[in-house]
Amino acid sequence: MKPGNDVGIYGYGAYIPRYFIENKIISSLWKRDAQPIQSKSFPNYDEDTITISYEAALRAIESSKAPIEKIGAIFIGSESKPYAVKPSGTVLVDALGLPRSILSADYEFACKAGTEAMQTVFGLVSSGMIEMGIAIGADTAQGRPGDELEYTAAAGGAAYIISRVDMGVLARLEASYSYVSDTPDFWRRSGEDYPRHLYRFTGEPAYFHHIMSSVKGLFEKYGYQPSDFAYAVFHQPNYKFPTRVAAKLGFTREQIKPGLVVPLVGNTYSGSSLLGLAATLDVAKPGDKILLASFGSGAGSDAMVFEVTELIEERRMVPPVSKMISRMSPGDYSTYALYRDMLKR
């Protein structure tokens, strides 16, 4: 897809909670060897998807000095909404002081709800229905104690302010391509606390097939090749999947390195690829092309191409993702269990 009018990213912000738990603590508790990553973030007891979205959006607004009176939409993509029924975005509208003449909704598409929110805002801005909008991907992901997902399900998110190119953007959207199919690799039924997954099925038929299809579709339709890009960001549920899909598509380790935050932060679900994009924008230079490819179970992938502009230098997020990671503190399993409400009192 190409926008009717040129659109792009005006500002970006990300947030990762302060605490992390090392995988070796979890594997030692369950007496297993598997340690798919080094550590994962987890939220403080007073954090949820709304507060994480707020922090990411506030950082995007402050770092880019965006004129918030022009914002006409705020969409939050998440699979850990604090309420099953009551929108998250309305809290952000009043907490951030956004205009109340605004579109707001919560999006769900497993881990790609954040890029889905971006696509919608790109469309609304491109059509001229709104001047600017905010798209957020954020989660406090649930991992059943003892399940494989417990090693990686993390908390964090990123927010993108989207505007027309003539308003001044730090990265222009060149093209996008989406691919979905009914593939039941991972799900959470209504009223359930934790998601279920089909183990090895989550790899080839789900993650790899959908990301390869969206990226190859994008390349074939618009004539791109891996060497056109300075950087690439893929959804990162663990370390192995994004590095392998990058290699299969012909990208080098260097191209994915800045955006690969999963080894220390974990899988932030709807925030995952958007957090990787934020970490990549932290180091990108004007003229760089960036490929973003999300993945959401169920399943689908959004692939997008951005070209970074001169404005990146004055709109980079403060502090950068790397500093947010380096300020994190280790937590033990008991703190993790308490803060994640696993303990009955």
């Binding site: 302060r18 403080n44 007073d46 954090e47 604090p82």
Partner: protein, 128 residues
Amino acid sequence: MTEISDWIYRISRYRLIGSKCVECGEVAYPPRLTCYKCGGKMADYQLPRRGKILYYTVVKSLPERYNRYGAYPVAIVELEDGTRIFGLLTDVDNPEKGMEVEAVLRKLYTYGEHGKIIYGVKFRPVLG
């Protein structure tokens, strides 16, 4: 606070909006209609989000609503404009006098397992 006053005060709690006396300039948080010093009319006033800890203590004897996760630190914070306000601290294990803090939106409490989640400002060490 009742659930209705939670809603009435949500904007001042979310955004750290206090009030300033149009007569004597006294600042109040939470906001008031009349100045407690001179009786003058007060207008909305956006407090700065950053400040430093003047005094702190750790509350260990907790009302039920706050007793889910154990003791928590509270502080008198002096904001950048000199206003001193009482606030809850978060993301800090060892608070210190003079520590630079910033206001963030966090969950304050919930009405049990099935009730509303109430959000508001807390202070945490400045991220950078």
